[in-house]
């Protein structure tokens, strides 16, 4: 199987697993893990979209040379995008964990069902 197909499938599987965890697990930490997986899935998807068969990384060094660059490298933009997306995902995950900590400190519980004071 071609690598882009594999990575495409991987990315979707990861997203679905992540989403499933995020939506079904009651434990806040596990929810965050689910989110992380979902995020990672999207990152793989971005890279996959930019992948062109048989081409190299979009780094202009001696191996690539400066001629015919566009013929030799994969699309650089998704690669740039994924870097940003990873950073953002990291920040979000970190903040979520910070929240989880605060919540645990307040109620000594990691069950998301225990935080329903605001409703309706």
């Amino acid at each position: 199987m071609a690598i882009e197909i594999i990575s495409l499938i991987t990315s979707f599987v990861l997203m679905l697993i992540g989403l499933y965890g995020l939506l079904s697990d009651k434990n806040i930490i596990k929810i965050i893990v689910g989110f992380s997986l979902f995020d990672t899935g999207t990152h793989i998807l971005i890279v996959t979209i930019g992948y062109l068969k048989g081409k190299t990384a979009p780094i202009l060094d001696n191996a690539v040379g400066l001629t015919d660059v566009s013929q030799k490298i994969v699309d650089p933009i998704p690669q740039a995008l994924v870097l940003t997306a990873i950073v953002i995902g990291l920040a979000v995950t970190a903040l979520m964990l910070a929240y989880a900590l605060k919540m645990y400190q307040a109620k000594k519980s990691l069950n998301i069902g225990d935080y329903k004071t605001l409703k309706w």
Partner: protein, 1042 residues
């Protein structure tokens, strides 16, 4: 012109943010001021762009970062729209920081930087044309938001923040997938390039467009996938909630606006559907809220939903798109920020605790202004926005959307005005300490709101025809509110007289009648105000708002002027009515019926404008589409004001509990506004041979039944003012009936009744109001025997009831005589008979009124009361002169009136032979009757006087009482439940069936709302599931249609 490039907003902010983050104690001390300086700078930059672009001193500017063209660089665009939005963002950001001064100070540099980052991200998502860049800064914004939520201490804020992060995480994932696929299909990240590629029509790219749009929509919190947002509104610091609602919402909405170029027609359709569902749904649920901030959250969500709907409904190419969109947006922006800020000043969250505002008139005024702006009353921008929206939708023929918008607006009115009522009326339980830093932003936003209102009014078509002078007078009175009442009264009376003077010269006979009723009546009912002590805060602005509205109603020449005047009058009367001690609930129900009626009128005006050019009032006679429905809607709308059967339940409370000099205003004068409206549509319908026979036939029946039920209701009242209020319902029923006949005699009858009701109801309400003021009770059975204490009031009431009952020789009989002729000529025998029956029932309450109060036994605690104030008697006696003149010489008015009416109704006219009126059936010589009865009465009186000249006056208890004397006056003063027998026989006719119907309807919506809002279970995970399900469901529905 050299302008600072918008890129500096970002650059300077980022630089300062990093600088602030550096360690150092000195830096921490000044960091807040640094923040303020940056925010000020940002504001200045966007404002200068706004100024330059609005005045066309420069064109839009594109900024390309790093010197590349897209897609290889990120580019920013500063056009007029962006200038407006970034100005909004930055101004609110700046004032928000001022408002949160103490919090930002306390939380330190870190928090300040987060706040700054949030504002940068908002600026960027507005300016950027790069889709991925927007994604990044949406995420930055989310993270900053999550950081700011925990400014507020406590687990509520923390859990709300976590719910927010969960949901926004999922949304961000969807957006990211959408972006990467759109890049895959179009090879670009630049919005303009992408739009040129038209990805909607590319195989497979459709889903990416869908994902992008749906995730931006999800950011805008569509109902019902918005539980996470509501918690944030409720739990965050109010300063931040204000930013969240007015600024973040605005910026995100603008993102949707930019992306909407991607959408196809079907997608626009779904956009509008999503928006409308959100608007209606979240306002329905808002009705069940008792926490102020959560309620504001629901309202916020609803307003954004409306704006989303506007995006979907009105093509951006439409020349009025911007004024509608920005008109609604800017109202939301000012009002929501203002309200959240006030919520931080009030601190307590329960709606009822907002009564604390009562002691702070400035704040209360601002609060009410914001509420009215949200509910779309003039002169706020949302009024004009909604008006134009309705017209555009009508032009499209999209009636369903108008109905949805009006229904949603109505729900919103319900909870917002209930809240306003609490603030105005409830006893304050706590006092407020207001810091000036918190007050300034609110004050500035209030000013901005009014300014924006004027600006928008001038921008919409025909908006410049609106006369703002009455509002200016109201503003002057508001500013002078610290003066004693009598000075303000003099100003008000002079202003009313001046209106009348201006209107009088070029008015026809029909209009002159209403000028007299509205404005001369206004002056007469203002006179008792001289009796009132103190300042009467808020009374005169409200009264002038009402009279100004009434005056403008007369001079209105187009639909917009008319509707504007109608709404102005409604607000003014609401504030007048709610002044009564127990009026909160009654004013509220008055307002609900009025607003409901106004919306029907608006819908009808929409129908009227369909297929026509212009909005002149003459269009009413040339309705092209659904003329019957439009007319019926207008009629029902006006009948909410005339309190016709089914729509009358607000009246007894509203009129009965109002202040003593307000009751005559609203009863004798205000009700005639509905009559004016009805006359307007009847004139437009054409003469006798009109196309709406079925409508007027129905109205006739409604009028007859209203007369019956109103009068029957009146006889069972124990409260004098409520008795008069029910009587008004009945009298207005006669008037509706008379005009509905659509004949010469019918209209003469209608006008005679209108004039008579104006005079006698003003006399009666002034007299009774003054007595109620004096005795401090409304209950008639607690009065009695006052004839000896208040002879002048007695005479006034006697003349009032003789006129009311239609007994010759006073002018009421003229109405009855015309009525008989009109009914028989028209052939409405059975309806007519019902009205006559109602007329005889009127005797019962007339007797009860005058007997229970003035006759019978004087009560011990009233032995020392004296005649009522001169200021109440003066207008009564002026009106009595009017009654006498109209009784003796009705031809003075009826002759010219008949001449005018003969143009409309040429058939079966009333002819005059001297003072004798001749109809096809009979004759009536009012002058002779007046003389004959007068002479006869004087002779007989003289005779009895001669015969009984030696009669001894006796004391109160000296009567035929089995040789005993009653112990207490109460024992022999028969008043309570005096018509018990009648109640036994016919009381079933006034069983409160209609009240029951309306409470059933209210309960239905409340419990529906209560049921639906249970989906907001409080579980953050459920909210994330909602987001996913929402996406899937919308997608499936969407797929099924392409």
């Amino acid at each position: 012109m050299d302008l600072i490039s918008p890129i500096y907003i970002i650059a300077v902010s980022l630089g300062t943010g990093f600088f602030m983050g550096m360690p150092g104690k000195n830096l921490q001390r000044i960091s807040f001021y640094l923040l303020m300086a940056v925010l000020l700078f940002n504001t200045a930059v966007s404002l200068q762009w706004l100024y330059a672009l609005a005045n066309q001193l420069t064109g839009p500017m594109q900024v390309f970062t790093a010197g590349f063209q897209p897609p290889f660089s990120i580019n920013l665009l500063m056009g007029l729209n962006e200038a407006v939005i970034t100005s909004m963002v930055n101004i609110a950001g700046l004032l928000g920081a001022v408002y949160m001064y103490s919090v930002l100070k306390k939380i330190g540099t870190g928090g300040q930087v987060v706040y700054l980052i949030l504002l940068i991200s908002l600026n960027v998502i507005v300016l950027s044309r790069d889709i991925f860049n927007i994604f990044v800064f949406l995420e930055v914004g989310s993270i900053a938001t999550a950081g700011l939520i925990i400014f507020q201490k406590g687990i509520k804020a923390v859990s709300a923040g976590f719910k927010y992060m969960l949901a926004s995480g999922v949304i961000a994932g969807l957006l990211l997938i959408g972006i990467i696929f759109i890049y895959r299909f179009t090879g670009s990240l630049n919005i303009d390039t992408i739009i040129q590629e038209n990805p909607v029509f590319k195989q497979g790219a459709l889903i990416s467009v869908f994902l992008i749009l749906i995730s931006v929509i999800l950011e805008l919190k569509p109902f019902p996938a918005n539980g996470w947002a509501l918690d944030v509104y409720q739990a965050s610091h109010p300063g931040f909630s204000a930013i969240l609602s007015s600024v973040i919402g605005t910026a995100n909405l603008y993102v949707l606006y930019k992306f909407s170029g991607l959408a196809s027609e079907t997608l626009f359709y779904y956009l509008s559907l999503i928006g409308l569902v959100t608007f209606v749904g979240s306002n329905l649920l808002g009705m069940n809220q008792d926490n102020a901030r959560r309620l504001l959250g629901y309202s916020s969500v609803g307003q954004i939903g409306l704006l989303v709907a506007v995006l979907g409904l009105i093509p951006q190419a439409n020349s009025n798109f911007k004024i509608i969109f920005f008109g609604l947006l800017i109202s939301h922006y000012f009002a929501k920020a203002g309200l959240f800020w006030i919520s931080g000043i009030v601190k307590k969250s329960g709606l009822k605790s907002w009564s604390a505002l009562r002691k702070k008139p400035v704040l209360l005024f601002l609060f009410i202004s914001f509420i009215l702006a949200l509910t779309g009353f003039p002169p706020f921008p949302s009024f004009f926005g909604k008006w134009q929206l309705v017209l555009e939708l009508s032009a499209q023929g999209n009636i369903a959307a108008i109905i949805a918008i009006l229904v949603g607006s109505f729900f919103e009115v319900v909870y917002l005005l209930r809240w306003a009522g609490y603030a105005i009326k409830l006893e304050p339980v706590s006092t407020l300490k207001i810091k000036w830093v918190k007050l300034i932003p609110v004050l500035l936003f209030g000013v901005g709101l009014y300014g924006a209102g004027y600006f928008v009014s001038q921008a919409i078509p025909y908006g410049n025809t609106i006369n703002f002078i009455p509002l200016a007078i109201v503003a002057v009175l508001l500013l002078l509110d610290f003066l004693p009442a009598y000075i303000k009264n003099i100003i008000s009376i002079s202003a009313t007289a001046w209106f009348a003077y201006l209107l009088f010269p070029d008015a026809g006979t029909l209009k002159i009648i209403f000028i007299v009723i509205f404005l001369v009546g206004g002056i007469l009912t203002l006179i008792p105000g001289f009796y009132m002590k103190g300042k009467r805060e808020g009374f005169y602005p409200s009264a002038m708002l009402m009279f100004g509205g009434l005056a403008q109603l007369i001079e209105a020449e187009n639909l917009l002027q008319f509707f504007f005047a109608w709404e102005i009058m409604t607000i003014g009367s609401y504030f007048l009515i709610i002044r009564g001690k127990k009026s909160m609930i009654h004013a509220f129900s008055y307002m609900l019926f009025s607003v409901g009626g106004a919306y029907l009128i608006l819908l009808a005006f929409g129908l009227v404008s369909m297929g026509n050019t212009g909005i002149g009032l003459e269009l009413l006679s040339q309705i092209k589409y659904y003329p019957g429905i439009a007319m019926a809607l207008l009629a029902v709308g006006f009948m909410t004001k005339t309190a016709s059967l089914g729509l009358h339940i607000w009246l007894p409370g509203a009129h009965g509990e109002a202040e003593s000099d307000v009751s005559p205003m609203v009863s004798a004068i205000l009700l005639k506004a509905g009559v004016f409206g009805l006359i307007l549509i009847m004139l437009a319908a054409g003469g006798e041979q009109n196309n709406y026979q079925w409508l007027f036939y129905t109205l006739g029946w409604i009028g007859a039944l209203t007369a019956l039920v109103g009068n029957l209701g009146a006889i069972f009242q124990e409260d004098a003012k409520r008795l008069l209020a029910y009587s008004s319902i009945g009298q207005l029923g006669y008037i509706l009936f008379a005009f509905s006949m659509m004949s010469h005699m019918g209209w003469l009858t209608g006008f005679t009744y209108t004039i008579n009701h104006f005079m006698f109801k003003a006399i009666l309400f002034l007299a009774i109001g003054a007595i109620v003021l004096k005795l401090k009770t409304h209950n008639m059975y607690e009065m009695g025997g006052l004839i000896k204490k208040m002879p002048f009031s007695f005479i006034a009431v006697l003349i009032g009831i003789i006129t009311l009952a239609g007994i010759p020789p006073l002018s009421g009989f003229g109405g009855k005589w015309l009525f008989y002729n009109a009914v028989i000529l028209k052939g409405w025998y059975f309806q007519g008979a019902i009205v006559f029956f109602a007329g005889t029932i009127a005797f019962l309450y007339c007797f009860k009124l005058i007997y229970s109060i003035f006759l019978g036994q004087l009560k011990d605690n009233h032995r020392n009361v004296t005649e009522v104030s001169f200021w109440f008697l003066l207008p009564q006696y002026i009106l009595i002169i009017g009654v006498m003149v109209f009784s003796a010489r009705p031809d003075i008015i009826l002759k010219p009136l008949g001449a005018t009416l003969s143009n409309i109704f040429p058939a079966e006219q009333l002819t005059w032979n001297g003072t004798t009126a001749l109809s096809k059936l009979g004759y009536w010589d009012a002058t002779t009757i007046f003389m004959v009865i007068g002479i006869m009465f004087v002779i007989l009186f003289g005779w009895l006087w001669f015969m009984s000249r030696k009669a001894q006056p006796v004391k109160q208890f000296n009567m035929v009482y089995s040789a005993e004397r009653p112990e207490r006056p109460e024992l022999t003063h028969l008043s309570h439940n005096i018509y018990a027998g009648y109640n036994k026989a016919l009381g079933f006719l006034v069983a409160p069936g209609i009240t029951a119907f309306w409470s059933y309807a209210t309960n239905f919506f409340e419990s529906a709302g209560n049921f639906i809002r249970r989906i907001y279970s409080g579980n953050g995970q459920s909210y994330a599931i909602h987001v996913v399900i929402y996406t899937v469901v919308v997608f499936i529905i969407y797929l099924s249609t392409i």
